[in-house]
Amino acid sequence: MGAVRFAMIALFAAFFAVPLAATARAEGAADAAIPQDARIEPAAFVDQLRGTNPPATILQVGSSVLYAEAHIPGSQYAGPTGKEDGIKNLASHVDGLPRDKPIVIYCGCCPWTRCPNIGAAYKHLLSMGFTHVKALYLPNNFGDDWVNKGYPVARGN
């Protein structure tokens, strides 16, 4: 009887602990993976976009549905990098680029500390040898920190 109870408790714990552990891994993943000096604030990035030297490669590494709703003009969809298929998608977008090419990645699917994509994308680009990678710092999400600030937006795929 005791063994059955123990097995049931273990099963229950496994059922809930695995997803919770996955959530905990996602939490803070961006903070851990992306140092402060590799982040770019939205206001500074808008200045770059409007300036005479716009970054050559801008990649949205999150959800394609959210990309279709609104994205940064000139950015390409290259996600979702929280998943293996998304990492492959990202790699295929950048594979032919010189490793010193400036790249700006962004997501904004959910709060920065909860984002499953941005940290994974940053780490993968570094592992591919890219030396000039910046991550757009969107603390809340793309809506609050970009669209609602009146920054330029394109829509559709």
């Binding site: 997803p19 005479t52 716009p54 904004g108 709060p111 609050d144």
Partner: protein, 164 residues
């Protein structure tokens, strides 16, 4: 130099052409929709007139959304006058089905898309929730992660007002 200037002009033009969806706010009528849920049943917002509707935009990859799902299931179970409707903004159906299998959903889940997001004023980050009154008007809008009990409290308060 000239190329860069052209790029800037192109960006500006693109931004101007892009028609922004009209933002929604409390007091406005919730946009109507009718779509099939994951089980193939038709979900028509109009059919829920007379009930309080909690519309939950979520995705399988969104940790704050997943945290809220057991609370929404409990809420649907607890209050007869409420209908929860989930709108998944996932890119494909498979990860959504995985989540719905993991939790015993007792409310319908639809697969959303950019059009659906735009219909609701632009869902650019998750989660987003709308509390809709029995007459179809939006009562509350929440964006982002909520402290536990927020939705339950709001639903209870709304039902209390309606039953007065």
């Amino acid at each position: 130099m000239r190329g860069a200037r052209c790029f800037g002009v192109l960006l500006l033009a693109q931004a101007l052409i892009a028609a922004a969806p009209a933002p929604l706010s409390p007091g406005m009528l919730a946009p109507s929709f009718a779509r099939s849920d994951l089980s193939g049943h038709r979900v028509d917002l109009k059919a829920y007139r007379g009930k309080l509707v909690l519309l939950d935009f979520w995705a399988s990859w969104c940790a704050p959304c997943i945290v809220e799902i057991p609370r929404l299931i409990a809420l649907q179970k607890r209050y007869g006058g409420v209908q929860v409707i989930g709108v998944s903004m996932d890119d494909s159906i498979a990860p959504v089905q995985k989540v719905t299998r993991r939790f015993a959903f007792n409310y319908p889940v639809l697969l959303g898309d950019a059009d659906f997001g735009n219909l609701y004023g632009g869902v650019y980050g998750l989660p987003v929730r709308f509390l809709i009154a029995p007459d179809g008007r939006i009562l509350r809008i929440w964006k982002g992660e909520l402290p536990p009990g927020t939705l339950d409290h709001a639903v209870r308060a709304a039902l209390g007002r309606l039953n007065r």
